[in-house]
């Protein structure tokens, strides 16, 4: 018997070429006769467009095509179709595209784009959510009421792009009880740039009336459909293929550069390359949104949360994009972790005159978990209960109600807290390393979920007895396409992972898929692949039953052979079965499909939500030790530990790699990564000199314990493992720093100046006067 492939730490098939520098990412691709493109962007945050004159640019050397808003009539959106490709009549953010140019060289394209004459009339801008929600705020989308709604149910008005609410039980009665302590907290977080090393990039061509776009994306089908919508063409006229992607982290979960390159390819008749510069990426990345949070809870002395109310404002920037969709998640992140007797949550996406925000690993979850866990520690201080004891008592368990009224299955968080206690017990504390600095430690919990949704897979059994897996899955670095899926497929068919060829994503070859993100690929693509394998296996056994003269029900498929159960010598190879199929049934293949079951909320609890309840919850427990230098405000992470709910680990070592990497991204978010915007709506950080991501000397090895066995609808009981590692990090660090300093941490990142201010008592609390303390007053009428 060959060793089992599920649970094996197998290497990844793409490592060799990546280490040789041979892998050709999108930025490394070139086509004969290829042109280079540049985009002309707005340099004000809010203006009326008087005129755009491209005549001079068109006459410049090397210029082959110039395209503008007239060439792209459609509007894009996830919840609301509010977003044109180029600004139409009005500029809504600094950096908004106005025109695009293709030329023989990039320098020529850049020069011509800069030579386009733009006449503007500046308009008042609202660059913060407080400004956008003020009674006299400039209306960023005067035509908001006429936009096509792509998803029903969200309330909208003026600068409120989307409103989602949760209402379960009577919070008024809960807060009025005379046996509760009421604790109120406020928080504010800034934006985080995903910063994959490969910028958004594509090469587009137009042949035989169809577009072919080779692009660095997580969502080939969304690129296909969005490009078609913006250009006003049929989606089937767009083919998207995806080579190895140099990191995504959510940045590449929406269209980006593709429609510009497609238009220019059609206009010029030549392939067109468009690659964002780092400056473009800093200016236009769909950052994790800045958010403002007011939360209050009514809690008994025994630690029972009888009522909770919260308002979360999420800055979607000038256009909605993913952010209205992400308002949904507040119900399950800020509304997660703990049993709530009654709850009201308001999650609002607010338009501002800033670059649009979007998805970033554990979107919405990172800051809501920061807020919830800091609030929880403030509750513990108010009622005088140990924070770990409070969490043991209050976390969601078997049959607990979620905020929207779904019923959770299984005790998961409580045993994970025990596992963290055991991990801490066997790992010596690093308190001595604080060496005179302020020492703090915290253990925090987090709730996340797998964003399931539709996936399709085809498995072809080839005449040599090996298989090809055809999906729209993309390898963005996480290993799901290079490790998890071939392990799942080979296990299902009694083969070795090396026997499984993984077809790169091609929307002409594979069925629809939501995309790579939300921790979904191992679950959704894995489930679709498993279903495809079941069909292949059935066909293999049918043919083998003729060859072995045995009933298919008596046959076993393992180690590349079909054998009769109990008579291992009576066997035929899968290759022989595949060869026989060529002359009996024709080649063997199987198709599989999967989608989320659509777990329901309690009727009437959730409004404006695109997901009412969690199909596949995931939990995490993190622990962190910090040392805070009282003279400089510098925070050093002394130790970091994670217990993560993974369902079943297909490749444990690959998951460890995801956890180490996700935690380090979270440390950047907690300690120093922040995109800030000036009064003119300009993003201040224009590169790595001013936007600091963690470097090798900054990090610690993360101690990890994988929690297996929690209920899961995933294949083999698996859950996605790559999204969730970043979820609790800001919470863990903030709670530990709060414990070290005795100060109330209400904002991240915890940069040295902010931490010094906390120690000195000079750090101001966030001004959230635009969020009414009366929960209901914040809702749209």
């Amino acid at each position: 018997m060959n060793a089992p492939v599920i649970g094996a730490d197998l290497a990844r098939r793409d490592a060799g070429d990546k280490l040789r520098g041979r892998t050709r990412f999108t930025i490394d691709r070139a086509a004969a006769g290829m042109l280079h493109a540049a985009v002309r962007r707005a340099d004000v945050a809010s203006a009326r467009i008087v005129s755009i004159d491209t005549a001079a640019a068109r006459a410049m050397p090397g210029v082959r095509a110039v395209v503008t808003a007239e060439d792209a009539p459609g509007r894009y959106g996830v919840a609301i179709a509010d977003h044109p490709l180029f600004a139409v009549d009005r500029i809504r953010f600094h950096g908004e595209p106005l025109a695009a140019v293709a030329a023989d060289t990039f320098a020529q394209a850049r020069a011509a784009a800069d030579a386009i004459v733009v006449e503007l009339e500046e308009l008042p801008a609202a660059v913060t959510m407080a400004e956008a929600l003020a009674p006299d705020a400039p209306e960023i989308h005067p035509g908001w009421a006429d936009y096509e709604e792509l998803f029903p149910g969200g309330k909208r008005a003026g600068n409120v792009a989307w409103e989602a609410t949760v209402e379960r039980g009577d919070t008024d009665a809960a807060f009025a009880r005379d046996d509760v302590t009421v604790v109120e907290s406020t928080f504010r977080v800034g934006r985080q740039n995903q910063t994959p090393l490969e910028p958004r990039a594509c090469v587009a061509s137009f042949e035989d009336g169809r577009f072919h776009i080779e692009t660095s994306t997580q969502v080939p089908w969304a690129v296909r459909d969005t490009t078609a919508k913006l250009l006003g063409i049929a989606p089937s006229d767009v083919r998207v293929t995806v080579p190895a992607v140099g990191g995504g982290f959510g940045l590449k979960f929406e269209f980006a550069v593709e429609p510009f390159a497609a238009l220019l390819a059609r206009a010029s008749g030549r392939p067109v390359r468009l690659v964002n510069t780092r400056r473009d990426e800093m200016q236009t990345a769909l950052c994790r949104e800045n958010a403002e949070i007011r939360i209050r809870s009514a809690v008994t002395d025994e630690g029972e949360i009888v009522g909770r109310e919260a308002v979360v404002l999420m800055d979607c920037g000038a256009y909605g994009g993913e952010t209205p969709f992400l308002t949904t998640m507040t119900a399950h992140t800020l509304g997660g972790n703990y049993r709530l007797g009654s709850v009201k949550l308001l999650s609002t996406a607010v338009y501002t005159n800033t670059a649009p925000t979007g998805a970033f690993r554990a979107c919405n979850g990172t800051y809501n978990t920061f807020a919830l866990e800091r609030h929880t520690d403030e509750i513990c201080a108010a009622i005088g209960m140990d924070p770990l004891e409070f969490r043991r008592r209050a976390v969601i368990g078997n049959r607990s109600l979620g905020s929207t009224g779904q019923v959770f299955e299984g005790d998961v968080l409580a045993p994970m807290l025990d596992r963290m206690a055991a991990l801490k017990a066997r790992t010596p504390s690093r308190e001595a390393d604080a060496d005179g600095r302020l020492y703090g430690r915290a253990t925090v919990v987090g709730t996340w979920f797998i964003f399931v949704g539709p996936s399709a897979a085809t498995v072809n059994l080839n005449p040599d007895g090996r298989v090809t897996l055809v999906t729209s899955g993309v390898e963005i670095g996480s290993g799901s396409m290079m490790q998890a899926l071939p392990q799942i497929v080979s296990d299902a068919l009694g083969l070795q992972p090396a026997d499984v060829t993984v077809r790169a994503a091609d929307t002409d070859a594979a069925g629809y898929d939501v995309g790579i993100g939300g921790g979904r690929q191992t679950v959704s693509l894995g489930a679709a692949s498993t279903a495809a394998c079941a069909e292949v296996k059935k066909k293999i056994l049918n043919i083998a039953s003729d060859m072995l003269e045995a009933d298919p029900g008596d046959l076993e498929l393992a180690d590349g052979h079909v054998s009769i159960a109990g008579i291992p010598d009576r066997k035929v190879s899968v290759a022989a079965v595949a060869a026989r199929a060529q002359v009996s049934t024709g080649p063997i293949s199987g198709n599989g499909a999967f989608t989320g079951p659509g777990t329901a909320a309690m009727p009437g609890c959730a409004a404006g939500h695109m997901i009412e309840a969690l199909d596949l919850p995931v939990f995490a427990v993190h622990d962190c030790e910090v040392a805070v230098d009282p003279d400089t405000g510098h925070v050093e992470i002394l130790s970091y530990a994670v217990v993560q709910d993974v369902g079943r680990a297909i490749n444990p070592r690959a998951i460890f790699g995801q956890i180490q990497g996700g935690v380090v991204q979270g440390l950047g978010y907690a300690l120093h990564e922040e995109i800030t915007i000036d009064a003119q709506g300009r993003i201040r950080q224009q590169g790595f000199e001013t936007y600091h991501v963690p470097l090798a000397p900054d990090v610690v090895p993360v101690e990890i314990d994988l929690y297996e066995g929690a209920p899961s609808i995933g294949p083999l009981g698996t859950k996605g493992a790559g999204e969730v590692p970043i979820l609790n990090v800001a919470a863990a660090v903030a709670c530990a720093v709060s414990n070290a300093t005795g100060a109330r941490v209400q904002q991240i990142p915890l940069t040295p100046p902010r931490v010094l201010g906390l120690i000195d008592g000079t750090e101001p609390a966030p001004d959230l006067s635009h969020i009414d303390p009366d929960w209901s007053a914040n809702r749209l009428g």
């Binding site: 490394d28 490969e198 140099g246 470097l695």
Partner: protein, 156 residues
């Protein structure tokens, strides 16, 4: 005037304007696309190559200053038809690679380190990588893999 270089052991002449970044020459003229153009400002290290044995960010290195220089890129580390180098093999064995964009630069920074210090400490390895941004891995496994090459016992 063409600039004469030795690139991965081969004498080459480059006719590009003298201010052309070495990264562009390597990628666009010699099709050595291992070195990545990621920030163009010398902060990320993804374009790191060795110039006369020293690590250099090729995006900020004008080719006009390189007359007679010896350039080594990631493509030189292993024979194209042979095995990975010991350092590359260690990265593969430790499952250190994720998206892979930073590795060509990281491998060249480590190659330079090992040529001057055959048995660096963990802190020395971390410091040597301070100019190479990796957004995926959280670095530790890269450090472990590197130490396993120069300190096989210590990395057990």
């Amino acid at each position: 005037m063409p600039v004469n270089l030795v690139v991965n052991g081969e004498e080459r002449a480059v006719a590009a304007p003298p201010l052309t970044p070495l990264a562009d020459v390597l990628r666009d003229t010699f099709f050595l696309t291992g070195a990545k153009h990621v920030c163009g400002e010398g902060f990320c290290g993804a374009c790191t190559v060795l110039v006369d044995g020293k690590p250099a960010v090729s995006c900020l290195t004008p080719v006009g200053l390189l007359e007679g220089s010896e350039i080594r890129t990631v493509e030189l580390l292993a024979d194209p038809s042979g095995d990975l180098s010991p350092l590359q093999a260690a990265m593969e064995r430790h499952d250190a690679v994720q998206c892979g964009m930073c590795f060509p630069g990281i491998l060249m920074s480590l190659t330079a380190l090992f040529e001057t210090d055959a048995a660096p400490s963990r802190d020395t390895v971390r410091t040597a990588l301070a100019g190479n941004i990796c957004r995926c891995t959280g670095y530790e496994r890269i450090v472990e893999a590197a130490l396993s090459v120069c300190q096989p016992e210590a990395a057990q």
